[in-house]
């Protein structure tokens, strides 16, 4: 009896350990954000091989993360190599803010990207910016993941 009970308890312990570890792996796979900034690749497109087109932001923020700066340096290198290319930087916000503030926030994000591209040697004349606020979500879901993918600035070839 006692032995049986011990075995049973052991199984319960083992089983719940399995459950917990299953949960934590699932979490890692689903939520590609660090400090509220999307770090995944699901929505990302490429301007050229190895040159991602977009960077992501934290809620209500427009500062560039290390990963964003890395992406923008790649974009700048690509633009310096392709001197005839002009781009539009599109700034976006998630759906969790008031519409007018989001328009301003999208503009601020697009300009953060533009400024960084200029720091790395791209003429401002080759970069125009436009804000879409919350009007053009890339992921239409209402979830933290979708919102993190929508808080973005996308560099689009304009010519």
């Amino acid at each position: 009896m006692k032995f049986n009970k011990a075995i049973k308890n052991l199984f319960i312990v083992l089983f719940s350990t399995l459950l917990i570890s299953a949960c934590s792996t699932a979490k890692k796979a689903n939520v590609d954000t660090v400090d509220d900034v999307y770090t995944g690749t699901d929505t990302v497109e490429f301007l050229a091989k190895g040159v991602p087109d977009r960077i992501f932001f934290a809620t209500n923020k427009s500062n560039l993360t290390t990963a964003s700066r890395d992406t923008l340096r790649k974009q700048a290198t690509w633009m310096r190599k392709n001197k005839d290319v002009t781009v539009t930087v599109e700034g976006h916000a998630d759906e969790r803010g008031t519409r007018e503030y989001n328009l301003a926030l999208g503009e601020r994000r697009a300009n953060a990207a533009k400024d960084y591209l200029m720091t790395y040697g791209v003429s401002g004349k080759r970069i125009s910016v436009i804000s879409y606020g919350k009007e053009r979500p890339v992921n239409p879901a209402s979830s933290p993941l979708a919102w993190s993918q929508n808080r973005r600035s996308v560099t689009v070839k304009a010519n």
């Binding site: 008031t98 503030y101 400024d115 239409p140």
Partner: protein, 445 residues
């Protein structure tokens, strides 16, 4: 377009002034709406036939609109017509008060109409059944096409007599009509009567349009258009359909609103990642920069006397509401509660500012005094924003969006209204999904 702004030949004559006893208190949520009987208007048999509708049913139709308006206020309880005891023409001459009291009515509306020489002549009376007295008697003449407006004007006059406040029924709502999936929304400027009828679309949906707002005379709308992919503030003449860009700014302009005298448009201009507030005089075209701060300053709204401007800014690090003089001096933060505050709109009465508050992932529509005290949150939801005031400052209209699933399904945007008492929340019917409502002033003053 012309049709809806058909010149209203409106002459109101007060037939007789009377003092009644019933009043409706609108300063608190009404738990005990006033029972009111709206008799169909008697249609004079000499009336001419009009091709667009059946003349004989006009009296009934007008009374139904009046009833619907009353019901929507939450302050009145329109009684069922099948219990009515007197014929419309006889009741209009002299009601048998005791009979109407039997069906528990406290007020009675009667009237008659006649279409002659292509003109619609309407007469109506409001009776206090308890005191057995006439409270108003008015008559007016208009074009028959205006018959829905006749019903709204009657509603306004009665509302005014019973509550002591001006009404808001003979008004329109400008809004953004939305169709299509969430990530490829088609948006058009739209206009409708306050009760959802006579919807007109002012743009075709080829470019993104946002945030329409009426001028004080309701002939112009200012809004944001992405025409040629250049987001700029535009001005649209509703009657002629003529559109023009407002000012010559080298970047995005947005969040426009008229000054209370209609002479200026105030808006945000975004440059190099910084949004400041500017105004432009529509006649002289002189542009004035009002805020100068390296933060986002947007959603400006004038006080009704034009002396102050409220706006939201993230200069403190978070989106909060501020008030300043209309020349940009004496900037003062007025919200200090936990959460974010946006979209401040000054009440036409001047006493309150309506706003959107975001706290712990929930969205609230609220009101507070213009110094930021007395905050009252009226409604909470997943997402709602952009309140706009009824012309009497008693009701707010705003839009609400629903949550969507992982594929973007389940999303909707609808117009809602709520009394500033926090009672009487209701959805406004629109032909399509709708957002960014702007409530006009009274069309006939």
């Amino acid at each position: 377009m012309k049709k809806i702004f058909f010149a209203l030949i409106l002459s109101i004559f007060t037939l007789q002034n009377a003092h009644g006893l019933i009043t409706v208190d609108i300063t608190r949520g009404n738990l005990d709406p006033l029972p009111i009987a709206v008799s169909p208007l008697h249609v004079d048999s000499k009336s001419e036939k009009i091709s667009s509708f059946e003349t004989s049913k006009l009296g009934e139709e007008i009374s139904k609109i009046v009833e619907k308006n009353f019901k929507s206020t939450g302050l009145f309880n329109p009684l069922k017509k099948d219990s009515f005891v007197q014929k419309p023409d006889i009741a209009h001459l002299k009601p048998r008060f005791e009979d109407w009291r039997l069906i528990k009515a406290q007020a009675l509306v009667t009237g008659k109409l006649l279409i002659i020489d292509k003109k619609l002549k309407v007469e109506f009376r409001l009776w206090d059944l308890t005191a057995a007295k006439e409270m108003i008697a008015l008559s007016f003449t208009t074009t028959p096409n205006n018959w829905r407006r006749v019903a709204h004007i009657i509603s306004d006059k009665i509302y005014e007599r019973l509550t002591g406040e001006t009404g808001y029924f003979d008004t329109r709502i400008a809004y953004v009509s939305e169709t299509g999936p969430k990530n490829r929304r088609v948006k058009k400027l739209a206009l409708m009567d306050q009760d959802g009828f006579n919807t007109k679309y002012l743009t075709l949906g080829n470019e993104l349009v946002l945030t329409p707002r009426f001028n004080p005379t309701n002939q112009l709308v200012t809004y944001l258009s992405y025409f040629k992919n250049m987001p700029r503030v535009y001005l649209l003449d509703i009657e002629t359909g003529v559109q023009e860009v407002v000012g010559n700014f080298p970047g995005m302009t947005f969040a426009p609103r008229f000054s209370p005298d209609g002479k200026k448009i105030i808006m945000s201009f975004a440059k190099d990642g910084n949004s400041d507030i500017y105004s432009m005089d529509l006649e002289t075209r002189v542009v004035e920069q009002i805020t100068k701060h390296p933060s986002i300053d947007t959603s400006p709204s004038y006080s009704p006397d034009g002396k102050y401007i409220t706006f939201n800014s993230d200069r403190s690090g978070l989106q909060q509401i501020y008030v300043m003089r209309s020349d940009g001096t004496k900037v003062k933060r007025i919200t200090h509660g936990s959460g974010l505050y946006g979209t401040p709109v000054w009440s036409p009465r001047g006493d309150l500012i309506a706003f959107t508050k975001v706290r712990k992932g929930r969205f609230y529509i609220g009101v507070m005094r213009s110094d930021g005290t007395g905050e009252r949150l009226l409604t909470e939801n997943f997402y709602q924003e952009a309140p706009s005031w009824s012309p009497n400052g008693r009701v707010l209209i705003f839009y609400r969006e629903t949550k969507s699933d992982s594929k973007g399904k389940g999303f909707s945007a609808k117009l809602w209204s709520i009394d500033i008492t926090g009672y009487n929340e209701r959805r406004l019917k629109t032909e399509t999904d709708a957002s960014d409502p702007s409530w006009s002033s009274l069309l006939s003053k």
